[in-house]
Amino acid sequence: MKRHLVSAADLTRDDALLVLDTAEELAQLSGRAVKKLPTLRGRTVVNLFFEDSTRTKTSFEVAEKRLSADVINFSAKGSSVSKGESLKDTALTLQAMGADAVVVRHHASGAPARLAQSDWLHGSVINAGDGTHEHPTQALLDAFTMRRHLNPGAGNDLAGRRVTIVGDILHSRVARSNVHLLTTLGAQVTFVAPPTLLPIGIENWPCEVSYDLESVLPKTDALMMLRVQRERMNAAFFPTEREYTRRYGVDGPRMSRLPEHAIVMHPGPMVRGMEITAEVADSPRCTVVEQVANGVSVRMAVLYLLLGGATLTDTPRTDSVESAK
C-alpha cells in the first residue's frame, strides 16, 4: 500500500483485498468483551476536521481507540476560507505535535492531496472526505458490506456484481471513490441520475450511465442511494422534491423490482421521503446500520495497514535494523 490514502484510485486490487480481509478479521473484535488491541500504542493520530461530520469522525475515533492510538481531535471548522490559520500552518502544527497520521476531512477538493504532497507533515494522510472529490474509506466500507452479502469470503472480490448508484453523482465524493474501488474489485457500476447531476465527461468514466431507474433495478445486486440536498433544487438541478422522488427515489414497489438477493445501501445521512422511503430504509434489505458498523472495521484495517508496521516516522529505527543486517 502507498503511504497515504487520498484516493480510492491509490489502491490496487491486492491492496483493496488486503484492507477488506484485514477488516474482516478485525470485525470479530466487536463481539469480544475487550474491544481493543494494543497495536497502535504510542502512535498519534490526529483527526483534522475542517467540516462537520459527526458520523465519520466518530467512526475514525472508535477505530483509532480500538487500536490504542493516541487520538487528537483538531476541529478547524470555519478557519480556512476567510483569514484564519492556513492549511499549511495547521499542518506544521500537527507535525510539531508528532502526528503519525492525519485523518483529514475538508470542504475543499484536493486538500488531503495537497497535504500528502507537501513537506508540511511527514505522517500518513488519510482522506476522510474532501469536497466533491473522494471519500475512500466510505468506498471501502461499502465494498466490504457488498462482499459480505454478495461474494462472502476472504480473498474474494466483487467480480460480476452489478452496483447501481443513484442520486447526486456530480457533488458526490462517495460516488467518485466507489467507481474507482468497485471497478478495481471487478464490479460493474451504473450511475443513475438526472443529467444535471452527472459531471461533464462521465462518458469516459469506467461505468454505465442511465437516466431511468426502473429499467436498471432488475439488473442490480446492490442499490446505493445517495443523499440529495434540498438546496440543489434552488440551483435548478431538478424542479421539485416531488418530481425527484418520483423519478429517482426508491420506495417499496421499486425495491420489489430488485432481485431477491439484492441489498439497498446508503452512506447516510438519509433524507427519508426524498431519495428513500421509510419502508425501504427500515427494511431488512437495507444495510445502512450495518454499513456504520463495518465502517469501524474498515477504518481500523486502514489505520493498521498504514501505521501498524514500520513507517517513515520510524526511519531512525528501520535504519539501524538495516545496518544491523
Binding site: M1, Y304, L306, G308, D314
Partner: protein, 207 residues
C-alpha cells in the same frame, strides 16, 4: 564453534522425521490427558502458522484417546507483536475462538518452535483480551532454548540445543508437503522458520 563460524553456512539437516513427529504428538496428547485429568475443560488454540496444523493433529489424537471433541481454535498474535515497527504491516491470519469461549477453561496454546518466548508473550496478551481461562499451558514441537522472557513450555516434543546462528525449520505435510524438523545455519536463510521454509522449498534439501 569459532572454526564453524568461519566455514560456509551449512545446509539444514533433519533432526525429526514424520514418524518422530507423529510419535511426539501422541505423547503430548497423552500428557495433556494425564495432566488435565481427562482433558474435559481443555481448549486447544493453535498459533499461526504451523501451530494451527499441530493443534489440529493434537485435536485428532485427543479425540481418539478421549473419545471427545475437544474445542479447537486458532490464534493470530500479529496485533500483539512487539516488533511490528520493524517491518511493513503484515497481513492478519484468522483467529477463531471456539463457540464455548475460553472463560474458565484450560487453554493449551500450541506452537511449532519455542525460541525467544516473544510469540507466547503476545499470545498471552491476546488471550487476556479474549477471556479469562482457568489456566494456560503451552505445547511446542521443539524447544530450541535462548529464551528472552520468563516463559517455559508445559509439553515439549523435543528439546533441541541450538546456537543462535542456527535456524530451526518445521515442515508439516498439510502445508509443506512433508513432515520434518530441520536445523541449519541461520545465514542459510532468515530467522523465522516460515521464511526458511519458503526458501527451502526452492533449494534442494534432503527429503
Amino acid at each position: 564453534m569459532t572454526a564453524h563460524q568461519e566455514s560456509a553456512p551449512r545446509p539444514p539437516h533433519q533432526v525429526l522425521d514424520g514418524t518422530d513427529i507423529a510419535r511426539v504428538i501422541t505423547r503430548i496428547a497423552h500428557e495433556i490427558v494425564e495432566r488435565a485429568k481427562g482433558a474435559e475443560d481443555v481448549v486447544l488454540l493453535g498459533i499461526h502458522t504451523r501451530g494451527v496444523h499441530l493443534a489440529r493433529r493434537l485435536h485428532a489424537r485427543l479425540a481418539q484417546i478421549t473419545d471427545q471433541d475437544i474445542p479447537l481454535g486458532t490464534l493470530d498474535i500479529t496485533m500483539y507483536r512487539d516488533d511490528l515497527r520493524l517491518k511493513p504491516a503484515r497481513a492478519l491470519e484468522h483467529t477463531e475462538i471456539p463457540p464455548g469461549g475460553i472463560d474458565g477453561r484450560l487453554v493449551v496454546l500450541v506452537d511449532d518452535v519455542l525460541f525467544s518466548g516473544r510469540t507466547i508473550r503476545a499470545a498471552l496478551d491476546a488471550l487476556n483480551d479474549i477471556g479469562r481461562p482457568r489456566a494456560v499451558q503451552l505445547a511446542v514441537l521443539v524447544d530450541r532454548g535462548h529464551r528472552e522472557l520468563p516463559i517455559r513450555a508445559d509439553y515439549v516434543g523435543k528439546n533441541l540445543p541450538t546456537s543462535l546462528r542456527e535456524a530451526v525449520q518445521v515442515r508439516l505435510s498439510d502445508r509443506d508437503g512433508v513432515d520434518a524438523v530441520l536445523v541449519g545455519d541461520r545465514d542459510f536463510a532468515a530467522r523465522s522458520s516460515q521464511a526458511l521454509a519458503a526458501q527451502a522449498t526452492e533449494s534442494h534439501l534432503p527429503e
